[in-house]
Symmetry: C2
Subunit: 302 residues, 2 copies
């Protein structure tokens, strides 16, 4: 199978699972179903397109490690719910206050601020509801699924993505600082790219050294991607190429090129991509998809 076909296949898996977990609701309200308006607002953002990078990372890592892909679909869908909630809340007034995302009106512009807050809360809570039910429906791998859910919770949480968002918000009023930039990118971006790798490792029952390798890979890819984003923004090409994350590099003043200079930023990016490739080398041919995935991301700045 070609890389492109495999990518489409993974995306289809997660789209189907998300549709099954969050079908359109017909009832304005009824016990046991999601109220129609709340469901609509959740679906509006969850099914807004996007590259489904985090689910694809989870599914492809599970494949690479020889895990049961069927067991990885719900965690992949749940992770996309978490990513989506973070975008809805990021766009709210008081946060980035954006009217558009990917050319469509943001959630609160369509459903109002109140329902956008609830749609985000709903997606976050429902992600865990799905993860927990999924774990219970696999008693033969209960601990693996609970560990996968726990690593997602940690990376998405108050020492992970939310920590990065908090610092990003505070940074608007603070002088630029390299250590803080590294912290924000590590947590706001890299943590939610590392979560699917480690979740897949727990689901597939991989050993500890595999998790250590995947942690290095996730951190390298996350930061390298962010540096490239900054470089592309500088070249004014970012919009044409699309963005991987919800981070708006234009908003903050801190970027890698502005702090370290373009040359040093390019060097750091190259080092990190090479680090990512070195990690994948340990997995041999089984890493063919992730290897191509890295190439595609890296080619953006070539």
């Amino acid at each position: 199978m070609t890389y492109r076909d495999q990518y489409v296949s993974y995306v289809n898996m997660v789209e189907e699972r998300m549709e099954a977990l969050l079908p359109k609701s017909e009832n304005a309200y009824a016990d046991g179903s999601i109220p129609a308006r709340l469901c609509d607002s959740m679906r509006y953002s969850l099914f807004a397109g996007g590259k489904r990078v985090r689910p694809v990372l989870l599914l492809s890592t599970c494949d690479m490690l020889g895990g049961d892909i069927e067991q990885a679909k719900t965690p992949a869908a749940a992770l996309e719910m978490i990513h989506t909630y973070s975008l809805i809340h990021d766009d709210l007034p008081g946060m980035d206050d954006d009217d558009y995302r990917r050319g469509r009106l943001t959630n609160h512009k369509v459903y109002g601020v109140g329902h956008a807050i609830l749609a985000g809360d709903g997606l976050l809570n429902y992600a865990y509801e799905c993860l927990l039910q999924h774990a219970l429906s696999h008693p033969e791998n209960l601990e693996g699924h609970v560990k996968a859910a726990a690593v997602i919770a940690q990376r998405a949480g108050v020492t992970g993505m939310i920590a990065g968002q908090s610092l990003d918000l505070l940074s608007e009023h603070m002088p630029a600082e390299a250590e803080r930039l590294q912290y924000i990118h590590t947590h706001k971006t890299a943590d939610l790219l590392t979560a699917p790798l480690l979740a897949a490792a727990w689901i597939a029952g991989a050993e500890e050294k595999t998790r250590v390798a995947l942690t290095r890979f996730g951190a390298a890819v996350g930061i390298a991607f962010q540096i490239d984003d900054d470089l592309l923004d500088l070249e004014g090409d970012a919009k044409a190429l699309g963005k991987l994350t919800g981070m708006d590099a234009q908003r903050g003043k801190m970027t890698w090129p502005s702090l370290f200079g373009v040359k040093e930023a390019r060097n750091r990016s190259r080092e990190l991509w090479e680090e990512a490739e070195r990690v994948l080398a340990c997995f041999g041919d089984r890493a063919w998809f992730l290897r191509e995935f890295v190439q595609q991301l890296r080619n953006r700045t070539k």
Copy 2:
């Protein structure tokens, strides 16, 4: 032990556990710790006092069912985090837009709207992070703890509390309707009072008929309390007596007395309290604390 002493003892258990799970953070930012400002904003609302009704219900039900109280403390703390996040988000502009809660400035008035959104997201996500870690630290009762977490997720979620909040928000622009009022009170209020009962049942390994009984008890208490709240609001006594829930009965136009009349509302409340007492009778002397708990709530309107 007297009822009052036992209540204080349960409250101390949950306060201690919350303090242990969410201690004050000293670092502006550092890998592995919660950023100081984010942690402060979460703690501001979590440690704002309150009667800790949901944790007390969880701990006392666990005691009643002969479960290990030690295993119930973290779920009790997590449930209070979920209740607290819902209050923070409820108070935001676009929702109730309140400046004060229990005589203190609301979270967004102190930390700004952006951080209040993150503090709420943080508490919600951290509740599941704690529940999942707690489940993993009890391998001998892993399934029980995962089922407890799953029932909390369901009752707090998009077919539970968030569903009630959604309908409550939409109701501002809709004509009053008895069925919708019942739905809002069931989900916005009663579901998060039933969650601790069922979580305790799973932790203690209770049988199905116990869970059925506790579900009836939770629904009866939740709705009865809400009807009494409406009646007290009508008498203008609500503020003096304090409120159990985050629901602002004054905001919506729909109340039990306005829809059914005061006499019928009083009748319905009495029937529900009697139903709650009938359920407790099945548990005999072991239900002494819950029996007194019900009496205290019921006495508000006497």
